[in-house]
Amino acid sequence: MSYLQFVFYFFSALTILSALGMITVKNPVHAVLFLVFAFFNSAALWITLRAEFLGIVLVLVYVGAVMVLFLFVVMMLDINIAKLREGFVRFLPLGVIVALAMVVELGLILGAKYFQLAGHPQNQSMLPNTEALGNVLYTQYVYPFEIAAVVLLVAIIAAIALTLRRRPDSKYTKPEQQIAIERNQRVRIVKMSAEGKSK
């Protein structure tokens, strides 16, 4: 077994184990952390395939941004695990059928002639693929790249235009008005004559 094979099996085993852990642990926060670990190991697998850009992006985007958001959401939700596990037996037959169908489909694809390892082109270029992507992204593809940026800008404008609003019925405090308050707005001095002793 070569060193590369050892690395591959090591990270594949960790990926599968963490994926299993993700669906079996009771605590949802632990499940998310297992998912993060699975992504991390998949990123390592990408790097063994000489696709280091995909590996880095997987860590940066999924682990760094998406999963952190996911973790926030999971922590804030009050999930009742017992309720989620109800009906496990009832849905088991359906789940088994779907799983079997997927296994058969995967088998068909992996057995097809286009997906054999021999037909799979190796990355022959000596250029690291981050550099290769960088070379075309701002030259050959500069126009589509910039349009994609404009699409994102429009998405931001649209999101803000549709959600930023003043609701007259919502109760919120305005700190700038709170600190500018004056004494006579808070305290009212009422002059009255002294009352007689109660009997």
Binding site: Y143, P144, I147, V154, L162
Partner: protein, 481 residues
């Protein structure tokens, strides 16, 4: 890989200028008080005007591609861009009083509108599958937000939701077709796809599969039957000013996408998409014209009329000849003009607290404002295809193109359907001229909107008298594809 040359950037100066103005307006608008919102309006109109002038002056007069085939400037794109920019100016003029009355007169409306125009220009000049998709999404994203702009209206939110979900579905279909096409040809560039496909070793059925998805995607975006379900609901639910925008200019851009995808990338697959278009045409003409008769809301009626007009546009494309593409281009440009006039009229007749969205609301318009009634008459006649308005000539050239490719029955069918359709257009005319109303509310019209509406209506008449003025450019555009 070499950097794009300055020469290539010179091709897209109008787009660059518009993008710069969008960013500038976005920032300037933040510093304006609500009472100064007119500044945003005039800045938007100014940017559109200059963009139009730049399109004209930067016109290379021939077909040039840039950015490794991602961008193309040809007579077709110049003609369509000029119409998009010009009609958007009219759309903004018509919608200003409407938006102000409904407290929708906000800077974002114009920024999104301009971003939509940018998307359309990108789409019209797209020469690779990548830019077609990005231009389409830029345009659609702006439209989704504009439909949802009236946030307190349940109808508008519902329309926006439907439009968004179905639009995403259509984009998905289109992308699926594009990915198969890429798999078959190994290229995103439209010219190279056409060449590779002509000598393709792949089975015919694989090409057919890609074409099915692409035709479904574009039919969804244009609203041809059976992909038309969203059109009436979205047209009715959206604020009239937005319906006006999406009913007129976006059709031009969507048509450009059809030409780039079907006529330029897939000419060798005409046997596949010809039959599909024929089915779309037959269904669109029938559903559009017959169901429109039953409508009481004029916005819904015009939505169904859109569907039938899309059928006519597809007929020109279906012919698959240069004459057919020229006829379809002519039809879609004229349609955008008519549609801007018709929806603009609804916006102008609405006032604070009142929407002129029922056909009944046009009753006795002749008593209230004879001139506007005459303009509406011209628009309706043109939509119905009655001479001497331009609608007649537009239908004529499309039918001619279809007859030339030996499909006289399709032409005959289209004529019968237009005669059925003439009924509901003429009903509006009857309401305006022959029905009386008890209380005559005079129409208060802004000077700029009045002048532009007169120009819009009279243009339909003038083009009908001298159709070749525009036809020359359409023929040149189709010849340069």
């Amino acid at each position: 890989m070499a950097l794009p040359l300055a020469k290539q950037f010179a091709l897209m100066v109008p787009e660059l200028f518009l993008l710069g103005m969008i960013c500038a307006i976005l920032v300037i608008d933040v510093f304006l008080k609500n009472s100064q919102r007119n500044v945003t309006y005039w800045l938007s109109q100014f940017s559109l005007l200059i963009t139009g002038i730049l399109v004209l002056t930067m016109n290379p007069g021939e077909r040039i591609t840039g950015f490794d085939g991602a961008f193309v400037s040809d007579p077709f794109s110049v003609l369509l861009k000029l119409f998009v920019v010009g009609i958007t100016i009219a759309v903004f003029v018509y919608s200003r009083p409407y938006m102000r009355d409904r407290e929708l007169f906000r800077g974002e409306y114009f920024v999104l509108g301009l971003a939509g125009v940018l998307g359309m220009m990108v789409l019209i000049s797209a020469h690779s599958l990548l830019t077609i998709y990005l231009g389409l999404e830029l345009m659609s994203l702006a439209l989704y937000a504009m439909v949802a702009f009236q946030r307190d209206s349940g109808r508008a939110s519902e329309a926006a939701m439907k439009y968004f979900v179905l639009g995403a579905l259509a984009s998905g279909l289109l992308l699926y077709g594009m990915s198969i096409l890429y798999g078959l040809t190994g290229s995103l560039d439209i010219t190279r796809i056409a060449i590779n496909l002509a000598h393709s070793p792949h089975p015919e059925v694989a090409v057919g599969l890609a074409v099915v998805f692409i035709v479904s995607g574009v039919a969804f975006k244009l609203g041809a039957v059976p992909f038309h379900m969203w059109i009436p609901d979205v047209y009715e639910g959206a604020p009239t000013s937005v319906t006006l925008y999406m009913g007129s200019v976006t059709k031009i851009a969507a048509f450009a996408m059809v030409i780039r995808l079907l006529a330029e990338a897939l000419p060798s697959a005409h046997i596949h998409w010809g039959g599909m278009l024929e089915l779309l045409i037959v269904l669109s003409l029938a559903v559009g014209n017959v169901i429109a008769i039953a409508q009481t809301s004029i916005k819904r009626m015009l939505a169904y009329s859109t569907i039938s007009h899309v059928g006519f546009v597809f007929m020109g494309v279906f012919a698959g000849t240069d004459a057919g593409y020229a006829a379809a281009t002519y039809y879609v440009l004229v349609y955008a003009l008519m549609s801007a006039g018709a929806f603009g009229m609804i916006a102008l007749l609405s006032r604070k607290g009142f929407e002129a969205e029922n056909i009944e609301d046009f009753k006795g318009l002749n008593q209230r404002s004879p001139w506007l009634a005459f303009m509406m008459l011209l628009i309706m006649f043109s939509m119905a295809g009655i001479p001497p308005t331009v609608g007649f000539y537009a239908k004529l050239v499309v039918l001619q193109a279809v007859v030339q490719v030996d499909q006289p029955w399709l032409a005959l069918y289209a004529v019968i359907m237009s005669v059925i359709g003439a009924f509901y257009y003429l009903r509006v005319v009857k309401f305006m001229y022959f029905d009386k109303v008890e209380e005559v509310v005079p129409v208060r019209l802004k000077l700029d909107a009045g002048i532009l509406m007169s120009f819009n209506g009279l243009a339909l008449l003038a083009l009908g008298m001298f159709p070749s003025v525009l036809m020359v450019y359409c023929t040149a555009a189709a010849g340069g594809l």
